[in-house]
Symmetry: C2
Subunit: 109 residues, 2 copies
Amino acid sequence: MVNQSDPDPLGRVFQAMADPTRRAIVERLVRGPATVKAIAEPLTMSLPAVMQHLQVLQAAGVIVTEKVGRVRSCRIEPTALRQAEQWLGRQRTETERQLDQLDDYLKGK
Amino acid sequence: MVNQSDPDPLGRVFQAMADPTRRAIVERLVRGPATVKAIAEPLTMSLPAVMQHLQVLQAAGVIVTEKVGRVRSCRIEPTALRQAEQWLGRQRTETERQLDQLDDYLKGK
């Protein structure tokens, strides 16, 4: 869930995506929820470093973490990524819009 | 143009988009090229601060600047934004993919 009191929630999502490790974690989690241990396993860094990246993703509303017994697992919360994607989607120049329309026309849409 | 020797060009684009002023500049420039003066005009900050934001956007390959005589103007270079949009578009959970398919089906696509 995106934090509503955050003055720039979209900025936090983009900031979270600015790091290659955090993008790798997102790429892992879109395939399904995973424990912190499973997320950390392929990454060449300490567990505290991984936890820090997970905290940034969580603060941006990109992931949700849940503790069941002693195991903490993470999953994607899709809304934040979709809002960032939609913002980028709206940033199209007139030339791009015209090319999109031509493309749709040629595909018979 | 995205700098090919940059170890993380996509990270630079997301970093550039993490700031609300830089997003406002992008929103202005998708409507058409503009001079630095015209970009700075609605922004409540000094010209050097605006120039710094433009430099971040330029280093990320999001904008191109050109000096004609004494006037520097800026325009969007769409590739970088489209690459970031496409990366986000690929980060869809299985549930989202299924909902997208259902949506396409209901729309008769």
